[in-house]
C-alpha cells in the first residue's frame, strides 16, 4: 500500500523516527539531511527520565514525558524486530543523589512535587544509596529512587533507526535545507524538494528555516564519554543524577563499561566548541559523586545544541497547510521521539494525536504567529 509522499527535514532522532515509522505505515518517505545522526542526537545522554526532570509549573511536560516513556518498550522492540540490533534499553531506573543539606532539601522538594502528582519516589539515605550503587562516594548523603525512568544508548538507536529506515524504503537526500514553506523545501544548491507533506524536524536549526519557528533557540550542552578501564570499579547499574551543591549532572551507564557524563547548559548561539570550564565542572562534580571515575578513560568531549522553546515544551503539529513541525524537544529528544513519531503519523492520517501531545501545539506561542522584526518572510 502506498499513501502520499512525505519529506522529513532533519535526520536527528526525531526526524529518523518519524521517517521510519511513516515509511513502515506505507508513506513514500525521503529524509533530507547532509549528515543524519551527527547533531545533538549523537551527543545526547539517552536518558528517558521524565520523573527526575519534573519541575513545578511544567506539569504538561511531565504528562507528555510519562506518556512518551510508556511508548518506549514497544518502540525498542519494533526497532529490534526491524534490524535485529539492540538499542540498549536499560530498565534499572534512576537514582537521584544530593551532597549537602541544601541539595537534600531540593530533592525533598522534588519528592513532594512528585508525590502531589501521584508518583511518590522512594527516599534514600546516603547509606541506602551506596547499598544500591556501591561506587557512589561518601559525600553523597541523600537520594531518591525513580525506578520507572529508563535510558537508551543514543548512538545504537541512531544506527538502528538509519538501518530500519533504509529497510523500510526511506530515501536519503543528502542536501542541506535552507528554507521550508508549506510542502516545499529549498536546498542550499538552489534545488527544491516537494512532497504531499513536509515534516520539519531540524532541532536547534529550525528557526532559520521558517519564520514562525523563531522562538526555537539553541541551548548548548557539553557531554563527556568515559569508559571503565580494567583497573577501575565498573560503572553504576542505574542512571545516576546528582545535585552537587546545587549543580545538576548525570551519569548514564552503557554496555561494555561506558559511562556518559553530562551536561552543561548555556546559551551561546550555534557554538559547539567544548570549553575547558565545561569539562572541568563536569569532571569535578562527577568525581565527588563517583570517585572511581578518576581511573576511567576520557574517551570523548563533545557539545550539542538542544532546541529550546520558551516553555520547554516541544512544537508538534500542523504549522500551515502541507507542513508539520516536530521540533523544540530541548533536553528530551530521545524520550519524546516515539510519541512524536506516533503523533506525526496520526496527523498524516487525519487522526487526532495522543492527547498529551496537544500541549505541544505549535500555535500556542504568540511568537510563532508574530515573528519579530529582523526575520524576513
Amino acid at each position: 500500500m502506498s499513501l502520499g509522499t512525505v519529506a522529513v527535514v532533519g535526520g536527528g532522532v526525531i526526524g529518523q523516527s518519524v521517517a521510519w515509522r511513516a515509511a513502515t505505515a506505507g508513506h513514500r518517505v525521503s529524509l533530507v539531511d547532509p549528515a543524519p545522526g551527527s547533531g545533538a542526537s549523537r551527543v545526547a545522554g539517552g536518558m528517558l527520565a521524565p520523573l527526575s526532570e519534573a519541575w513545578p509549573g511544567e506539569e504538561d511536560l511531565l504528562d507528555l514525558g510519562r506518556a512518551a516513556l510508556a511508548h518506549w518498550p514497544r518502540f525498542a522492540a519494533r526497532l529490534t524486530a526491524a534490524t535485529g540490533g539492540d538499542p540498549g534499553l536499560r530498565t534499572e531506573g534512576t537514582v537521584l543523589v544530593g551532597l549537602d543539606s541544601a541539595d537534600r532539601a531540593e530533592l525533598d522538594r522534588l519528592a513532594e512535587h512528585l508525590a502531589g502528582l501521584g508518583h511518590a519516589p522512594e527516599k534514600l539515605t546516603g547509606r541506602q544509596v551506596r547499598a544500591l550503587e556501591p561506587g557512589i562516594g561518601p559525600e553523597v548523603r541523600s537520594g531518591l529512587l525513580l525506578a520507572e525512568d529508563l535510558s537508551v544508548d543514543n548512538r545504537a538507536v541512531l544506527a538502528e533507526l538509519a538501518e530500519a529506515g533504509r529497510r523500510a524504503g526511506v530515501e536519503a537526500v543528502a542536501g542541506r535545507a535552507v528554507a521550508v514553506r508549506g510542502n516545499r523545501i529549498r536546498l542550499a544548491d538552489g534545488s527544491t524538494v516537494d512532497a504531499d507533506v513536509v515534516v520539519l524536524a531540524c532541532g536547534a536549526w529550525s528557526a532559520g528555516l521558517h519564520p514562525s519557528l523563531h522562538a526555537v533557540r539553541p541551548v548548548k550542552g557539553e557531554v563527556l564519554r568515559l569508559r571503565a578501564r580494567p583497573s577501575a570499579l565498573p560503572p553504576p547499574q542505574r542512571t545516576v543524577r546528582a545535585l552537587v551543591q546545587g549543580r545538576p549532572s548525570y551519569l548514564v551507564p552503557r554496555a561494555g563499561g561506558g559511562l556518559v557524563l553530562g551536561a552543561t547548559q548555556y546559551e551561546a548561539g550555534h557554538d559547539t566548541e567544548v570549553t575547558v570550564a565545561g569539562v572541568r565542572d563536569l569532571l569535578r562534580d562527577a568525581e565527588r559523586v563517583l570517585p572511581g571515575i578518576a581511573e576511567y578513560a576520557l574517551v570523548e568531549c563533545a557539545a550539542g545544541l538542544r532546541p529550546g522553546t520558551p516553555d520547554n515544551l516541544p512544537l508538534i503539529g500542523w504549522l500551515e497547510p502541507g507542513l508539520v513541525v516536530a521540533t523544540g524537544h530541548h533536553r528530551n529528544g530521545f524520550l519524546l521521539a516515539p510519541i512524536t513519531a506516533e503523533a506525526v503519523l496520526a496527523l498524516l492520517d487525519d487522526r487526532p494525536p495522543p492527547a498529551p501531545v496537544l500541549a505541544a501545539d505549535p500555535h500556542r506561542l504568540a511568537l510563532t504567529r508574530e515573528p519579530l522584526s529582523g526575520v524576513s518572510r
Binding site: A207, G246, E267, A277, L367
Partner: protein, 260 residues
C-alpha cells in the same frame, strides 16, 4: 499624597528607574516562567551574564528583556581577574551597545566571593574607559569607599555569598557602607526571601539585586511579586523613620487622659 509616596525613582548615573528591584536571570530554566516572574517583579533593569548568553541576538533572554522593555545590564560573571573582566565588559559594550556593566570578579568557584584586588583594578580601568561601572563587592566599608573613589556609579555589596540565600549576614557593615556612600548602594547577592529584601531597604540601600531567590523559588512569579512588595515596603519604612528600640514596654495610648 498617597500615590506620590510611590513615585520614588532610583537614580543611577543620571538615569531614572521606576523600580528599586534589579533582577538577575541566573537559575532560570524556563523562559515562559522567567517572563511571568519579570513582569511580576516590576523590574526595569535586569542583569545577564555575558558568558552565558547568545549576544548575537537569538530568541533567548536578551530578546525577552527587549520585548518587556527592561534595560539590560550585562555582567562579567565567571571572570577571575581584572584583565578578563575588562575584556568581557568591552565585548558586552560592543555586542549590546551599552556602556553599563555589572562588574563581577570572583576569587574562587567555591565561595564566589569578590576578589577585592582584581575588582578595584578592573573598576578603575573600566571607569577610565568610559563605562558606567556597578561593582559587585564584599560587604567591606573600606573597599566600597575605594570603589566610589575610582568613579563607580554605584556600589553593590553582598548580603551573603551568591546563591546561598543566607540573607544579610552583617547588617552593620551594610549600614556603614550606606552611611558613607554618596552613590547608590545596591544590596547584591544572598537574598533568600522577602524579609531579606525589606531589611536591605530599611538599612538604607537604594535598591536590591536578586536572581536565585526568585528563579529557583517554588513559584517564581509569586516570589517576584513578594520581592517587589518587600522592596517597596522596606523603602517606605526607611524613609518614614523607625521608632527606637526599647528594652521596656511603653504604652501606645497616653497614660493621662487629656480629652476630658
Amino acid at each position: 499624597m498617597f500615590q506620590e509616596m510611590f513615585q520614588d525613582p532610583l537614580v543611577i548615573a543620571g538615569r531614572e528607574f521606576g523600580s528599586r528591584l534589579v533582577m538577575g536571570t541566573g537559575g532560570a530554566d524556563n523562559l515562559a516562567v522567567l517572563e511571568r516572574a519579570l513582569r511580576a517583579s516590576g523590574t526595569e533593569l535586569t542583569t545577564v551574564a555575558m558568558r552565558r548568553m547568545d549576544a548575537s541576538g537569538g530568541p533567548g533572554v536578551l530578546e525577552l528583556l527587549r520585548r518587556l522593555d527592561i534595560e539590560v545590564l550585562p555582567n562579567t560573571a565567571g571572570c577571575r581577574g581584572a584583565d578578563e573582566a575588562v575584556l568581557t565588559a568591552r565585548l558586552a559594550r560592543e555586542a549590546l551597545g551599552t556602556n553599563w556593566v555589572k562588574l563581577e570578579v570572583v576569587a574562587d568557584e567555591r565561595t564566589l566571593l569578590p576578589d577585592p584586588v582584581e575588582l578595584l583594578d578592573a573598576a578603575e580601568q573600566l571607569v577610565d574607559d568610559g563605562f558606567v561601572v556597578l561593582p559587585y563587592t564584599n560587604d567591606d566599608p573600606v573597599l566600597a569607599l575605594r570603589l566610589e573613589q575610582v568613579g563607580c556609579a554605584a556600589v553593590m555589596p553582598l548580603g551573603s555569598p551568591i546563591g546561598t540565600g543566607l540573607g544579610i549576614r552583617n547588617p552593620h557593615n551594610i549600614e556603614l557602607i550606606v552611611s558613607r556612600a554618596s552613590v547608590p548602594v545596591v544590596l547584591d547577592a544572598g537574598i533568600g526571601t522577602a524579609s531579606d529584601a525589606a531589611l536591605a531597604m530599611e538599612l538604607g540601600c537604594a535598591a536590591v539585586l536578586l536572581a536565585t531567590a526568585v528563579t529557583r523559588a517554588g513559584d517564581p512569579e509569586r516570589m517576584a511579586a513578594a520581592m517587589r512588595a518587600a522592596v517597596t515596603g522596606g523603602r517606605l519604612a526607611h524613609l518614614a523613620g523607625r521608632i527606637p528600640k526599647r528594652f521596656w514596654a511603653k504604652a501606645s495610648s497616653p497614660e493621662l487622659d487629656y480629652v476630658g
